[in-house]
Amino acid sequence: MANILEVKDLRTFFFLEEGTLKALDGVSFSLERNKTLGIIGESGCGKSVTAQSILRIVPHPGRIMSGEILFHKTDSGEPVDLATYDPFGSGIRDIRGAEISMIFQEPMTSLSPVHTIGNQIIETILLHRTPDKIEAREIAIEMLAKVGISNPKQRIDEYPYQLSGGMRQRAMIAMALSCNPAILIADEPTTALDVTVQAQILELMRSLQDQFGMGIICITHNLGVIAEIADTVAVMYLGRIVEHGTAEEVFNNPMHPYTRRLLMSIPKLGKKAGTRLATIKGTVPIPLNRPPRECGFFTRCPEAMAGKCNVKTPALVETHGHSVRCFLHSDEEEPMVEIDESRKGRRQMLKETAK
């Protein structure tokens, strides 16, 4: 096992006027080198906050309250806990873009409209790889060629709006990979793209992974994309991972009622099974002011057990080859964690205990 990233019991809360929004409430997973972890879930399940937490770019008023984000810089070296870093400090900044980089959903808004793509890529290279501007430009051109942008010497001086959506996403990927990161986090990388362009980008990501060997965390709500690209899959619901395992396991043998229903609720091309789709009643709730102990899915779950699912939090337990968080499979309860919600965040608390 060559884990490059281990997230343990991560909690990220947002302190809103209406109350505390527990965007992540005890998320744990790990990522191996040269492998792809897919995180799926519907809007509001916390999948994007997971990505933001790793890079420590959680927007205000969000805070990491507890947990560890262990990043192994090299196989031998000691892991560093990113959760303890100052989000504005140089420690995390040296990692961002260099060792962990990220691409976003909307490549148009993710790039500055008044700077050329070259300028934006070169900036990253100058920050982390080489102080030589000419060399940096050469690397940028090379990267653009690698992501399949034709005529990169000319394209490098173009502005984002001069490129099509697919080309912009390629440029984003070139920027993200320009410093040979160990981890690429892709937050809905193809959602804004047409299906033929999506196919191109997925293909590109796969071939680049072969070349660069980075670990990928791919976040999306599109089950097809996940099945296409991921080695392991984590299904998120209401700030928690409810099911976690290899893609084959999760897709072919789903065990959590949510995963099962989710898979049945999407129409699949070429598999017109019957006329009706399975549905999940209701919508994904917002994790705001939730009861402290519950399975978040119990209100929508057809198999919910009263007196159990609504009062106890199931633990993520490994059964039959992969992990699932459900009382149907194990009676084990998630241990209670007391969080000081005085808006301090993990870093401050660590500092205080150190004193």
Partner: protein
Amino acid sequence: MATVKESKIDEGTLASADEKLLAGVDESREPELEKWFTASQGQLIWWRFKKHKMALIGIAVLALLYFVSMFAEFFGPYGTTQRFAAYENAPPTRIRFRTEEGRFRSPFIYGLTRTVDRATFRQVFTDDTSVMYDVKFFTRGEQGKILWLIPSNLKFIGVDGDVPLLIFGADRLGRDLFSRTLHGSRLSLFIGFGGVFLSFVLGTLLGGLSGYFGGVVDDVIQRMIDVLLSIPTIPLWMALAAAIPRHWGVTQTYFAITLVLAVVGWAGLARIVRGKLLALREEDFVLAARIFGSRQLYIIRRHLLPNFMSYLIVHITLAIPATILGETSLSFLGLGLQPPAVSWGVLLRDAQNITAIAQRPWQLIPGAFVVIAVLMFSFLGDGLRDAADPYKS
């Protein structure tokens, strides 16, 4: 039909469970939530507006200003033309609570004696401490007509005796600046409404036509706006105001000034109306209304107007202070309202040069009223702007 029924059980029940989850609340808060869910846009705006403390201060102060201005005959102890011959250029009267012997008593004032300093040849006012005059509330004074209708001589504040109570001092003709400021606020504050009302009508009408018809009408109106906005406001105001005949009465001049201010004001508004109209026309709910057979006028009345009314109100709130400033500036220059009319601008005219200010700095007090009124309108407008779109985050 079996399938439909089944789907109803399956999905219909979701609704109630769903919203509780959405809001993440317990059952006990349900009535409160229902109130929120059935709240119209107006109510949502109001709720949001109420949270804006500055805006609430703004509205309270403005209400007070307008109230006092409407009852200026009651709140101001004297008429606008009443002169106190011995009190020309007199400074604000000090209201005292302590007698010469150091005893506290109910508020009173001293009369003033005017002497001339032999060295500088300047007037000097000294307290005549021989008689104490009681300051009284709800006293009787000069006969006036409250709200132009009710004859009354009741005054909010006054003095028992024949010395004047000059809260803001007197001007060079010995008139009470306090009473004049209150009376002046009536013209100054209401010219805002008049001017904005006119530019509102013009702006909405022309902007609406422009956005609605498009094509040549749009082009012509847009060019008109371009031209108007290209001429600098203050010189244009000055040139237009110079055209108002000097011999016109107060009412005529007042309306003329209103018109002058509106001529410039409508163009900006028309541009906003047009832009908003064009944006709203693209909304799906407008297309939906067309597709189920609504007539154009119905769509405008039912969908477009209500939806940009809140923006118009915000714009108007922010336009009123501009009009107030415009009137003040013009009157200050002598191009606007003319004496015997009293407005803040007219009053500030008396403080036009350094000699006047040095002698009677209290003549700047009406300026403070201008600033407060404009400031409060800005607070109010800001609050309204934040609340105007209750569906945005």
